[in-house]
Symmetry: C2
Amino acid sequence: MNVRHVISRLGLLFIVFSGVMILVAAIFFILDLLQQHEAGREAQQALLFSGLIGVAIGLACWALNRKVKSYIGRREALLLVALSWLIGAVLGALPFFLWAQISEVPASTQFAQFIDCYFEAMSGLTTTGATILSDIESIPRSLLFWRAITHWLGGLGIVVLFVAVLPSLGVGGKKMFQVEATGLSPGGLQPQIKETARILAGIYVGLTAIEVTALTVAGMSFYDALCHTFATIASGGFSTKNASLGYYRDKPAIDAIVIVFMILAGVNFALYHQLIKGKTKRVFKDTELRFYLFLIAAATALVYFSLRHDGAPLILTTGETVEAGPGETLRQSLFTSVALKTGTGFCTTDYNPWPFLAHAVIIFLMFTGGCSGSTTGGIKVIRVWIAFKIMIAEIEHAFRPNVIRPVKVGGNTIDHETKLGIVVFVLGILILFALGSVVIMLLEGANPTSDCDYKTAATASLATLCTIGPGMAKVGAMENYGWFSGSSKAVMCILMMLGRLEIFAIIVLFTPRFWRGD
Amino acid sequence: MNVRHVISRLGLLFIVFSGVMILVAAIFFILDLLQQHEAGREAQQALLFSGLIGVAIGLACWALNRKVKSYIGRREALLLVALSWLIGAVLGALPFFLWAQISEVPASTQFAQFIDCYFEAMSGLTTTGATILSDIESIPRSLLFWRAITHWLGGLGIVVLFVAVLPSLGVGGKKMFQVEATGLSPGGLQPQIKETARILAGIYVGLTAIEVTALTVAGMSFYDALCHTFATIASGGFSTKNASLGYYRDKPAIDAIVIVFMILAGVNFALYHQLIKGKTKRVFKDTELRFYLFLIAAATALVYFSLRHDGAPLILTTGETVEAGPGETLRQSLFTSVALKTGTGFCTTDYNPWPFLAHAVIIFLMFTGGCSGSTTGGIKVIRVWIAFKIMIAEIEHAFRPNVIRPVKVGGNTIDHETKLGIVVFVLGILILFALGSVVIMLLEGANPTSDCDYKTAATASLATLCTIGPGMAKVGAMENYGWFSGSSKAVMCILMMLGRLEIFAIIVLFTPRFWRGD
């Protein structure tokens, strides 16, 4: 294991990451100078100091190890990925924490505990969007901007990682982490991987630019448009408003734009690459894309039916109550289904009082997530599809053990190893979800001031593991994660990483064989 | 598909089954004559009529089809198994239903609906032990005896089926339903299968005889000893007392005997065969047996710790409240853990108010169940063990895709097909559990008089799917299933069959390919 080279790469990453922090500090410093606005000075200082600390650490990591053999094998890549998020969130949390130390604004107490800052940064980098903040709007805008940027950078990292660097799904003959049987070549990523990464980043930036423009045209301020776009494209969910997207209720065009871009962010980014290459037909025949769109449509229809049948008025995130007429119900059903399926977790309505059927559909959406190679979390649509086909094949197997019918997706036969890998992954998510709920319940049970019921614990586990953001009950659309004990928050940080990096990148770190040379 | 031959076999089975009914009627008729007891006459009539109807149907099924080609292939065997339980429960329900029609005893209204009688009979034959009865003790003893016998016959059927006829687990190179690649030989079961079946039945009867003797010596009446033994050996759980085993609280030896025999009933019956053949060493080295005993010990320790830490007094099923001292807590922890792990579901204490950790442990036990080839339900210990090993292997696979480390159990390498089959089974149980809970919630939600919360629906789904009996909340140790709507009860009957026959025997019936000749 070439740990020193991993550290040197990590150093480079941290320099870039902290550089962005300094840039944000500088931009808002200049903006405030121009607008003669002084209230945000402390936040900018916090960002600047954090950035400098990050750059210093990054430089040290790089400089002390830059002369080691530059070999990155599979284990080194996994370690690099895991540490990027694990330590990246420490750096990402610094601005929040430093600000709370130097500021006397009452709102800064929300960031007084480091675990809260770490949770917020991890939630950002894993594109989860779960927040510990109860009052978002009183946080300085430079910090909220940084918070939105953690989404965007995390999402970009995930897309590049899972589409270009670590072919993610085992579909089409390639396995997770299996692009390079002998390790990445010395000197860095192979040229074609770099090229793919560059194209993906271009698509990511392009989608971002289009959404920002659309939101600005629809009436959002440029600042809010940027923050919400970062959260949409990364399927994160951090908003700059306490009412989340519900704040823009009187501008339905904004809801529509966000719905479209949430759906787009949940699509495999490799498909956009195909689109650019002109392979339109292949894109629209994509099994995962079709099933993904079908699931959104079916879920919306079921939620709509459930709400209409129930007939209770809808409670918006602004606190307003509205009649559940057909148009209003459709709007809320579609927005909520898309927001939770893609794991964005923007909210326009409080779905806590919704009837059971709507809840069951929502929970299913949260588990399944979006497409592979997207910024969404969860099991992923393609795995759900393949697991379903495997189960059908197994049923036939019971009365015809000698007939082995191949499981195919888009014309490709899924091999045995991949089939097992996919079913184990689905089972793994379910087990981690259950374990997470139980551990959160036990930790909160040990805390006499906490009043955590099982629905809260279970959906908190689900919403962090599948990188959704909001859950139900006391972590519902209008609630936050600030009230959990520090140890529960730490558990949720682990769940977010496990879900975001598709379990294995984290779990391998705990196996002795990973660290042994054999 | 040779449906007519299946029907003829079914006919023979029904003749035996209904013959037992007539026998029970006769025995209790004579007993009542001797004891000059007249209250039970109507129940005996109900049993007699039901038995006669059953014999008539059985004879018709057999006589009309006895001349068809006597070929039983894999599909025929699956159909026979599924119909045995599905229609067997109709016959088994008849005595309850007829009694309710002719009796004017107030308690008979508990059986006024046929779905309730069917539920009770299905719960008996699948060795679940979930009851719709709120007042057991006012049911005539001949009917309670018949109810206990459904357990015993169902359990015997399962052991013979899964150990002798359909090698159940895919462990050791053999697959579920795969003993005969070309179908069972014409003219009936092959000689060695018949021989194994005979030995298994002998072991089953032997264990029954020993437990009856032990319980009688410990102070139970012979009648109660028989009924409770039938329920123990089949890991069913029907009791003749409203307080279940809690009734015998002042005779701790009875608790101890029942605990021992519940554990014995959860062991693979093939191991007893090995024991008889003198292969003691092999038995005690059995991976599943060791893991099974370890899980019981570990679960008891956790439940004990949880209860002692909580310190709340224990509520017995008799209604009494006792201090949670070390001895008392150990007794209740052990009894409850064993009763729920083996899916027997006898109760001595109400575990509804127990703390969360104890509940989490209990739920885990309910899912995992006992050993393969036993009368218990659930996932089965060996599958849990293998699934765990597969997951460990998959984790290593993430950083070493070219190293395929074989997954071994007791020296045997598990092949690819079997691995996939086991993981799919575990996933299937989890999915059916979730589906069952959602459907029950929706059905009860549609019923305005029902007040079914999610914990009740979920544990009812679990307790029927894994053939446990009691669940939690409103289906807890001191509750019953009588209050559910008829449609929910029908769903639970399906869950019991699915769990009891390890899913595939039922699900295949719904696939078109099963019925087509190809």
